[in-house]
């Protein structure tokens, strides 16, 4: 126990004296939360569209259904007043208003080219440009279909529509940031935990100090605990910092129990630090370990459901996610924060991450050799 205290003292002296590590611990969470939450914003997927259909015919319905079928559009409402629809642009409830003129179908059948109007909120030029090009593509498609249809003959089928009213639970405003923040926090905590642990041990290898440690009577478990505890604390600190920023800047709700959340974060960090430890044991240089860590985090992040829901991934990918720690923490973080889930909803996640954590630490202690 005393040995561990001396090891901890040494680690903290080094952490607080290290000019690259301190900014990583204190500044990186801020930057990541500020930059990534906005940058990783995929709200393009969710273009809020208001529809003013003066025509209301099979053809106009077809145009509408094309937009509906696209994953990028979300039709938020219908109106029969252009002015009212424009108001929803003003109050930001819509990004796009489509006005289908009266007699559209009739005009087409008469060989005229009626004009559909798209009003795009261009406060964000980037977004407006994207909406414009997406929409133009869909309209092109519509034109092609109409042309084909006309060449055959005009069919007088009336499409019957079932209207679906949607309500979004747990994130009723479809606030993308509320969805992203818990995910970004997971990445933040993982990167800090895994990279710092792995780099720290490998740098001891590079300086040769690990050899000196290996000739002392320090036990393996003492050495490993001495390395894990500081970075576990740093990880928990950054997790708290991330949550704080999320709450303060983005108003992310914390509906569930903080204790439950931190308990999971603790288990998760044990696992992540264990992985970092394993990587550092099999690497000899900082470059090697950086590359390995980067590779693993990249694969896991992309598969974790940060950007795309796991449910839409192919089955094999969903299976791979059984071992993806990111996926678990991301899910748990979102469920506790946004949904207020309790322990019994998350037993499976607690169990898996707990077991993986124990495995990673045991394997790390086994693999770490004081002798060669």
């Amino acid at each position: 126990m005393r040995t561990i205290l001396f090891l901890l003292q040494k680690e903290f002296i080094q952490i607080f004296r290290n000019k690259t590590m301190l900014p990583i611990i204190f500044i990186m969470p801020l930057v990541q939360m500020l930059v990534l939450v906005f940058a990783a914003n995929l709200e393009m997927k969710n273009i809020k569209m208001k529809l003013v259909d003066f025509d209301n015919t099979a053809t106009s319905q077809e145009i509408v259904s094309k937009f509906k079928a696209s994953p990028f559009y979300n039709i938020i409402g219908y109106s029969y007043s252009v002015e009212e629809a424009q108001n929803s642009l003003i109050d930001n409830s819509a990004d796009l208003v489509m006005v289908i003129p009266p007699n559209l179908e009739q005009d087409i059948l008469n060989g005229q080219s009626p004009k559909v109007q798209l009003l795009i909120d261009a406060i964000n030029g980037m977004t407006a440009g994207l909406i414009n090009s997406y929409s133009s593509m869909i309209m092109l498609d519509v034109n092609k279909d109409i042309a084909i249809e006309l060449m055959k003959f005009s069919a007088n089928q009336q499409l019957k529509q079932i209207s679906i009213k949607q309500r979004f639970w747990y994130n009723s405003g479809l606030n993308y940031k509320h969805y992203m923040v818990p995910g970004i926090i997971v990445i933040l905590v993982t990167i800090i935990g895994m990279f710092l642990t792995a780099l720290n041990i490998v740098s001891e290898k590079e300086f040769g100090t690990i050899e000196q440690i290996n000739v002392t009577p320090i036990r393996k478990y003492q050495f490993i605990l001495g390395k894990l505890i500081p970075f576990l604390l740093v990880g928990l600190f950054d997790f708290a910092l991330g949550l704080f920023i999320g709450k303060l800047l983005f108003g992310v709700p914390i509906r569930g129990s903080l204790f439950l959340l931190f308990s999971f974060a603790f288990l998760y960090l044990v696992l992540v630090l264990g992985i970092g430890l394993l990587l550092s044991i099999i690497s000899d240089t900082q470059q090697q370990v950086m590359f390995l860590t980067f590779f693993i985090t990249l694969v896991f992040v992309l598969m974790s459901g940060l950007f795309t829901p796991i449910e839409t991934m192919p089955l094999w990918a969903q299976r791979v996610n059984i071992i993806n720690p990111f996926a678990y923490f991301m899910k748990v973080n979102r469920m506790i924060l946004l949904k207020g889930s309790g322990f019994f909803d998350l037993i499976r996640e607690f169990l898996y991450i707990g077991i993986y954590g124990i495995i990673s630490i045991v394997v790390a202690i086994r693999l770490y050799r004081k002798t060669s």
């Binding site: 001396f6 003292q9 040494k10 000739v215 002798t371």
Partner: protein, 246 residues
């Protein structure tokens, strides 16, 4: 017949270490007695570092037996580690920690009581004339200082044996001389010194010297006897004769 080495603190019998087909250390046999300065000489790549790593419990032998401070190098490496000090070529102090922090850390992990640790730290800093630099980072002090400090840290817990692996690489003769003063002080308090070097002038300071050539011990005796035996004026000549033989 009485084994004249029964009191030896290091016993090595037929020690061999192979890496694949390459035999780095080939059938070593020797004994070191307490308070002896045992020089372990050889050209680069002769197998010195491999042998010293086995004796420190950092590496296990392929064949043969060895006992260090009465403990077996196969099974009792953790006991060996409690009884030895080790200083390698890279002298392994933490560059981003101060002199006094390094001393406290290494003393602490050898389980030294705090009062004793404090007492020895003060004594040591006085002896090395580094008291006013106690709070300097290791990376800010000169190489010669680091080496003297690393040696003092390696003997802080009063081990039975201290292993020095080319401890004086890259420093001037005066600093080397000062370093050897520290070694003599260590044997005065009963520490055994096992030192590898390729400075032949340092070989003259040892009580006994073994010279390794290609993983084998080619000669082992006191410096005087060796010089007589090879009809040489200095250890350097002895070494060259042995190294050229192959």
């Amino acid at each position: 017949m009485v084994d004249k080495y029964q009191n030896s603190i290091i016993k090595v019998r037929g020690l061999t270490k192979r890496f694949g087909k390459f035999t780095a250390v080939d059938n070593l046999n020797f004994d070191v007695s307490q308070s002896e300065i045992f020089g372990f000489l050889g050209a680069n790549g002769a197998g010195k570092t491999t042998a010293i790593k086995i004796l420190c419990g950092l590496s296990s032998p392929s064949e043969g037996n060895a006992e260090v401070a009465g403990f077996d190098v196969y099974k009792q490496t953790e006991n060996i580690k409690k009884n030895i000090g080790y200083m390698s070529q890279s002298f392994s102090l933490y560059e981003d920690m101060t002199i006094v922090e390094n001393i406290r850390f290494y003393g602490g992990i050898y389980g030294m009581p705090l009062t004793l640790l404090k007492e020895r730290t003060n004594h040591m800093l006085n002896r090395l004339k580094m008291t006013e630099y106690a709070n300097k980072l290791i990376k800010e002090i000169p190489l010669g200082w680091k080496q003297k400090l690393a040696f003092s840290v390696a003997t802080l817990h009063r081990p039975k044996i201290v292993f020095l692996d080319e401890p004086t690489g890259g420093v001037d003769p005066i600093t080397r001389r000062q370093f050897w003063d520290l070694i003599y002080e260590a044997i005065d308090i009963g520490i055994t010194v096992f030192v590898t070097t390729h400075y032949m002038d340092e070989a003259e300071y040892c009580h006994r010297v073994s010279i390794m050539v290609d993983g084998k011990i080619a000669a082992l005796d006191t410096p005087d006897n060796l010089k007589q035996q090879y009809n040489a004026k200095s250890m350097n000549e002895v070494f060259l004769q042995l190294a050229r033989k192959k």
